[in-house]
């Protein structure tokens, strides 16, 4: 197990370097100059421009800039935001709980609906439920997420007026952050109606963010179940005289979950990418919106640091999934 962990951690090194290279060069490839953007409409004098260039190190050759950046990164310093002048790491951890809360809700929704839906579709293969479910999954998977979000806003916030359009909680409530998770904090605050408000703000973003993972999990579960249900050991289980529910949920599902867990792990990346769009549309104050805003402001350190943190998070999640694998699949455990 230790060897396995160490070897997996070693593969992090090239991935990590790759991510820093990509995020570092990607933001610099975008047209636009952060100093000009910061100066805004007032403009900036030539001397002041040169001074600022020196201050940010833009006068150095690009490989030296990268070297300086990497020296900082290796010491845990992701630099300071050009705009807020606050350390990128601090900003990240201040905003991350919002994204985490949204992502956890979305993946939970996707798993809780997707796995049972896939199982039921597999058992009723070719019947109406299966067809309807699989077509909706295909639609859900292929739908542009921003369009879907706007559609939901028009219907549920616009026409029906059931849900708020943006933010994490109504402006009527104010309380201090304790955990950073609005659902928990609103309960802790003891203010009447605060929790309900937090939930109603969370509903639409969660649905939007869960759509693609839900579709993927449902389809994956269905095909894994279909494969497992035709295995010899399922025939053995039935030959034992076990009730169908036990055959399906104890004997088949456990085996079918092995590939599904892998997919869920991979979906975390998709989820964080989806969070960028979802948070922007719903003005959700998380790292997705933070990174998008920073791209427009050409806030180099924030974009670099934010992408790097997301990448590290995805890597850690995938490692966790690999470890979890052994819990479900005994074949991996002892080899």
């Amino acid at each position: 197990m230790l060897n396995f962990l160490l070897s997996r951690l070693l593969t992090f090194v090239p991935t990590f370097i790759g991510v820093t290279l990509i995020s570092f060069s990607f933001i610099r490839l975008l047209p636009g100059d952060p100093i000009i953007v910061m100066a805004g409409e007032r403009g900036v004098s030539a001397e002041r421009y040169a001074e600022l260039q020196q201050q940010f190190g833009f006068d150095q050759p690009i490989y030296l800039q990268y070297w300086d950046y990497m020296l900082g990164v290796l010491q845990g310093d992701l630099g300071q935001s050009f705009v807020t002048k606050r350390p990128v790491v601090d900003e990240f951890f201040a905003l991350f709980p919002a994204t985490l809360e949204l992502s956890i809700c979305a993946i939970t929704l996707a798993v809780l609906l997707g796995i049972p839906a896939g199982v039921v579709a597999a058992i009723n293969r070719g019947k109406l439920f299966d067809r309807v479910l699989m077509s909706s999954a295909l639609v859900g998977y292929s739908m542009p997420i921003f369009w879907w979000a706007l559609l939901l806003i028009i219907v549920f916030s616009g026409w029906l007026g059931w849900t708020p359009v943006s933010g994490r909680i109504s402006l009527l409530y104010y309380f201090d952050d304790v955990t950073g998770f609005m659902l928990i904090d609103s309960l802790l605050s003891g203010e009447k109606g605060a929790f309900g408000s937090a939930v109603s703000h969370l509903v639409l973003p969660t649905i939007v963010l869960a759509t693609i993972p839900l579709a993927v999990i449902a389809r994956q579960t269905r095909s894994a179940m279909l494969e497992v249900l035709s295995e010899d050991y399922i025939r053995t289980a039935r030959a034992k005289g076990l009730p169908p529910s036990r055959v399906t949920y104890v004997h088949a599902l456990r085996n079918a979950l092995i590939p599904v867990i892998t997919v869920i792990g991979l979906l975390v990346g998709t989820l964080l990418a989806g969070a960028l769009l979802t948070e922007t549309i719903f003005s959700w104050p998380g790292i997705g919106k933070w990174i998008i805003d920073s791209i427009f402001r050409r806030d180099y350190p924030v974009v670099q640091g934010g992408l790097l943190m997301i990448a590290v998070m995805v890597m850690v999640v995938n490692l966790t999934v690999d470890v979890l694998y052994g819990v479900i699949n005994p074949k991996v455990r002892k080899s």
């Binding site: 010899d232 025939r235 030959a239 034992k240 005289g241 009730p243 074949k331």
Partner: protein, 325 residues
């Protein structure tokens, strides 16, 4: 009353290219303690007949029969719940591939205790004790530790012993062994067959041995039913079958035994079992039969009486095997 009685069992599969008749008029009567072998090539409907009795065929199968009773229960139109109380308990089955027939996610102990809990409602302690007893009975060394092993940690032979232990867990009246030794190597094959026959002797259960190996038949069975293309073509006691086969197919199978080969080349039966699209009009074996004539090719053969082993043939043989082949 017979333990198992099946008359005119047919199984048809709905396929995209029409229906395919896998079993065509299968008959079998088994008494308590009988050992019967069902022999035939691949595709002759041996396994399918018994899977139909167990209710384990997919929904694409249509099963019809005149009589299908087991231990006083009519298996035709039996409710799923009632069937589940019979299979795995009074009538159980082991399969060809022990390595894939056990669930890889659970320990073998879990899988054997499961049957004990469902059918006998034993408590945890009793289940554990009975599982150990069963493992000892089927000759698994160190049963206590083996209970917590996963199937992939054991050999094919050991897994087949687990399958057998599971099948006899509730002291069944009938054990159906569907090619139990095909996937195992020769020395293990002998051990498993010996185990099956000794268990049969101990418990007095009826045993059906589905196989395509005439050697296995000779060693274990008392009675043999020969299947061809979904039909029973002959049924005899073992000794007379080996000495005087009545159906040309049986004679050809016996002639193909390495032990009986007289020349350097092993005799074979040319061709393959007819499939969905090349079913002959008359006798199903006629395209491959050396003795077939026009009558065989156009007219369905009658079923002879017990004195000719119920042979389904226009020209049943009645001479010792050496001369007929």
């Amino acid at each position: 009353m017979a333990l198992l009685e099946v008359r005119n069992l047919s199984v048809e599969f709905a396929t995209t290219s029409g229906t395919f008749r896998a079993v065509d008029g299968f008959d079998l009567t088994l008494d308590k303690g009988d050992i019967t072998a069902v022999v035939g090539e691949s595709g002759s409907g041996k396994s399918v007949s018994f899977l139909a009795m167990m209710g384990l065929l997919p929904w694409t199968a249509t099963i019809t029969s005149d009589v299908m009773t087991f231990d006083g229960n009519d298996l035709r139109g039996i409710s799923p719940r009632k069937r589940r109380s019979i299979i795995g308990k009074d009538m159980s089955m082991i399969f060809q591939e022990p390595m894939t027939s056990l669930n890889p996610c659970y320990t073998v102990g879990f899988q054997i205790k499961e049957a004990l809990r469902i059918h006998l409602g034993m408590d945890r302690k009793a289940r554990h004790a009975r599982a150990i007893e069963l493992f000892e009975q089927v000759g698994i060394p160190a049963p206590e530790t083996r209970l917590s092993a996963f199937p992939h940690q054991m050999s094919g032979g050991m897994n087949q012993r687990v399958m057998i232990a599971m099948a006899i867990a509730c002291k069944p009246k009938l054990l159906i062994a569907d090619e139990p030794t095909t996937a195992l190597d020769v020395t293990i094959q002998a051990q498993i067959l010996e185990l099956l026959t000794s268990l049969q002797e101990e418990t007095g259960m009826a045993l059906v041995l589905i196989t395509h190996d005439m050697g296995v038949v000779a060693e274990t069975a008392e009675r043999v039913s020969v299947q061809y293309a979904g039909q029973k073509v002959e049924m005899q006691e073992v000794l007379p079958l080996f000495s005087t086969p009545h159906h040309p197919y049986t004679a050809a199978l016996l002639a193909a035994l390495p032990e009986r080969a007289t020349s350097k080349h092993l005799p074979t039966i040319p061709g393959v079992v007819p499939g969905q699209f090349d079913r002959p009009k008359g006798c199903l074996f006629s395209p491959r039969c050396a003795k077939a004539d026009e009558r065989c090719r156009t007219l369905k053969p009658p079923v002879e009486g017990p004195e000719l082993g119920f042979a389904r043939c226009h020209y049943p043989l009645n001479v010792p095997a050496e001369e007929s082949a």
